[in-house]
């Protein structure tokens, strides 16, 4: 027989021994496998929060969408423009135009306290005042229930995420803004983007309610094309009459979500690493007992001429196979439990809530199984080496 084939058949023989003996060691095997499943489920679960949050923010801007804020303002919350400035910005070169005028919406962004349904406590919900162009500036935004508010009237429409997470935002409900009661007349969807978490009203109505005079906080722009961005940016930032900075909407939202996703990801990896260390100990325990239960068999095989490499490989193989099984179970569990689960958290940049769905992405599932494989490999290595190094005579002596 040629070398490699012989070696492979040796591995197969030893692995078969291991696998056949699993029913006798089922408690210990189950404990290790479930342990690894637990690690993977928690890892994938925590990271799916970050992935979902990032996805919600990333869905918020196409490449030809821009946002203008006052210089030095890192969020809409602290930005501000008078109407004169917003007109200049809307008329700048690079802005897409329709017969009704430029596709630019000067907006107000404030927050309002509403009870969150899941916890019952008050949270900051974003309330946005928009101009007529707002619906065209944002791609894919549509009213899915009820109707659009009428311009100039005290009415609001509510993002689909906000309506789900916060109390009193169904069509027909009345929203209390200070001393005013504004009826909710419709629910809109922005395809999973940040606007889904918001309540919208006419900007002029909101200006009056918040004593804002004729001022705005931001201007949302639809560009002629993605390439028109630089032309637009240069025109706005060099205009001496206004003091503004320009972002692509996608960059702005990515920047906004960075700190929250970093926090969740850091904590997620920290927790998962610790759990993984625990799971490695579990796997080591299982494989040591697997090896010690078969001491005599392995020694016999080696006395017959099996190589120690084959023994190491087969023990590793068994450990990795069990770990992958655990990893797949864990990843599957977290997919079933977490994917698409709707929740809301605070965006620390704007101190207001963002609603989103947890996203168990294929990358996360793969990552989970990779972690399981590593745990299995580490957990199998030491016992494999011990099995291969055991002096044959001593092991047979035990017979």
């Amino acid at each position: 027989m040629s070398g490699p084939v012989n070696w492979l058949s040796q591995i197969a023989a030893v692995t078969k021994f291991g696998l056949l003996s699993i029913p006798q060691r089922r408690a210990s095997v189950a404990a290790a496998t479930i342990g690894i499943a637990g690690v993977v489920a928690v890892l994938v679960g925590v990271l799916s929060i970050a992935a979902g949050f990032r996805r919600a923010m990333a869905a918020s801007g196409s490449p030809d969408a821009a946002l203008v804020l006052r210089s030095g303002a890192d969020t809409e919350m602290v930005s501000g423009f008078l109407r004169d400035s917003t007109r200049i910005i809307a008329d700048a070169p690079g802005v897409a135009r329709t017969p009704e005028g430029p596709l630019a919406s000067a907006e107000l962004f404030v927050i309002i306290n509403l009870p969150k349904i899941s916890t019952g406590s008050d949270v900051n919900v974003p309330l946005r005042g928009v101009e007529r162009a707002a619906l065209k500036v944002r791609e894919g935004l549509k009213v899915v229930k009820g109707r659009m508010f009428e311009w100039g009237r005290d009415e609001v429409i509510v993002g689909i995420g906000a309506a789900r997470e916060f109390d009193g935002l169904q069509v027909g409900d009345k929203l209390k803004v200070g001393r005013y009661l504004w009826p909710v007349v419709g629910i809109f969807s922005a395809g999973g983007g940040a606007a889904d978490s918001e309540i919208w009203s006419d900007a002029t109505v909101l200006q009056a309610a918040y004593h804002r005079g004729d001022s705005f906080q931001s201007v949302f722009i639809k560009l002629k094309s993605p390439e028109a961005f630089n032309e637009f940016k240069d025109a706005v930032t060099t205009d001496p009459r206004i003091n503004a900075q320009v972002f692509r909407q996608a960059d702005y939202y990515a920047e906004n979500s960075a700190s929250v996703t970093r926090l969740i990801t850091t904590l997620g990896y920290l927790i998962a690493s610790l759990m993984a260390i625990g799971a490695v100990f579990g796997a080591l325990n299982t494989m040591y007992s697997s090896v010690s239960a078969r001491n005599r068999e392995i020694a016999t095989l080696r006395a017959l001429g099996f190589g120690s490499g084959a023994v190491v490989a087969s023990v590793m193989l068994e450990s990795i196979a069990l770990a992958i099984l655990g990893g797949v179970v864990g990843a599957g569990l977290s997919y079933v439990a977490f994917n698409g689960f709707h929740t809301a958290t605070m965006n620390w940049q704007s101190f207001s809530q963002v609603t989103f769905a947890l996203a168990v992405t294929p990358e996360l599932l793969v990552q989970g199984v990779v972690w399981a494989t590593l745990i299995g490999a580490i957990g199998g290595l030491l016992p494999a080496i011990r099995a291969a190094r055991q002096p044959i005579a001593t092991a047979l002596w035990e017979l």
Partner: protein, 384 residues
């Protein structure tokens, strides 16, 4: 106690296995420590001092300002002992990612309201004499290597000066410490009179008020009186206890208690399986010996205690090492670089953790212990 040697001997029978089990228990409790610290950081800024303090904010949301003139009206409300205010400045030092809070305050009122902020008397005096003076918490001072006498430029994202510039300069006149462990020593405070005179727009308006109620008064009733005072004005207020305010803030992030509990649940379930499995395995291997012990006169209760003691010893040893390691690791502070200023492992959670490891020992040992107790001498000796 005389059986301790026997228990110890049993644990040493398979050293690798014992050490591995011990380590997985250690890891579980290190993780528990981290999660406690994270939970503390997100929900913990509630001090005893805050029990008789109320926060008064604009009813619609905290970003809306209240008139400074409300202070005099609040002072007249029965049950109110002291009133002071703060305003969100939203400043950036060098890099927007290096976040810390800076608020303008009225120095005397502020320091009297917050006895948990420890500022040496001469620094307090210096602050009162320096119009552009600011005090900063120890953590931030160390982070940016600020010394007393330094001039620090802060770029506000909200407030501009009368000349249109958003860049403000402050003189560091004091560095404060926290009296309690959960006192936040990352903020910077500067003088409201300087701020109000220099800012363009918003003159005479402040962010929120802190009210201390008299010892004899009930905070909830005072809160109602405050809100009633300003009802139907153009600046209606919402007043709540400082603790409730901080917790509501934490709840905005999500239900942290639930998330922590579910992760811990998953971890302990896993550890329970691993440890329980190890112990029952080692009991099974020793069936013969245990039978022998019974044959020479060990009672059922003694058998039960022997196995339980073994599992508890393992769990407590692992638990104590784990809690100790978590204590050491978390004492290095915030792993996220400034987002969790109150990150530490609180003492009450250490005690709860100890109770948990004892419970872990009892639960994992119970089944094998019962097995050992029910062992019939004849059966077990036959196996030898």
């Amino acid at each position: 106690m005389k059986f301790l040697y026997l228990i110890w001997g049993n644990l040493r029978r398979k050293k690798t296995r014992t050490v591995l089990t011990l380590l997985s228990i250690v890891v579980a409790f290190v993780l528990y420590g981290f999660l406690s610290a994270i939970k503390q950081a997100l929900t913990g800024g509630v001090s005893l001092e805050g029990a008789n303090r109320l926060i008064v904010r604009h009813k619609v949301s905290i970003i809306q300002l209240l008139p400074e003139s409300y202070k005099r009206r609040m002072q007249k409300i029965p049950g109110v002992a002291a009133v002071t205010h703060q305003t969100w400045f939203g400043g950036i030092y060098q890099d927007p990612k290096k976040f810390f809070m800076q608020n303008p305050v009225v120095p005397d009122e502020f320091l009297d309201m917050h006895p948990e902020i420890l500022l040496p008397a001469e620094q307090r005096q210096a602050w009162l004499q320096t119009r552009t003076g600011a005090i900063v918490g120890r953590k931030t001072a160390e982070r940016f290597n600020w010394k007393i006498g330094d001039k620090v430029p802060i770029q506000s994202s909200i407030w501009s000066k009368k000349n249109g510039s958003f860049l403000w300069e402050f003189d560091i006149v004091g560095i404060f410490d926290g009296r309690e462990k959960n006192t936040d020593t990352t903020p910077m405070f500067f003088r409201y009179d300087y701020f109000d005179e220099a800012r363009r727009g918003g003159t005479g308006q402040v962010g929120w008020y802190t009210v201390r109620v008299q010892d004899t008064a009930r905070p909830a009733e005072v809160a109602k009186l405050v809100d009633a005072e300003f009802e139907n004005s153009s600046y209606e207020t919402k007043t709540e206890a400082e603790g409730a305010f901080v917790q509501a803030w934490a709840k905005q992030i999500g239900d942290i208690a639930l998330i922590t509990a579910s992760i811990l649940g998953a971890v302990f379930f896993t550890i329970l399986l691993v440890t329980g499995n190890t112990i029952s395995q080692s009991v099974r291997e020793r069936t013969g010996e245990l039978g022998l012990l019974k044959a020479i006169g060990f009672t059922n209760a003694q058998m039960l205690a022997l196995v339980l003691a073994e599992s508890c010893l393992l769990a407590v040893l692992g638990g104590v090492i784990g809690l100790g390691a978590a204590w050491l690791l978390t004492s290095h502070g915030d792993p996220t670089g400034g987002m969790l200023p109150l990150y530490f492992f609180p003492a009450r959670d250490v005690i709860a953790g100890f109770a948990m490891c004892v419970a872990l020992g009892l639960v994992t040992g119970l089944l094998p212990a019962l097995q050992a107790m029910r062992l019939r001498v004849a059966d077990s000796l036959r196996r030898i």
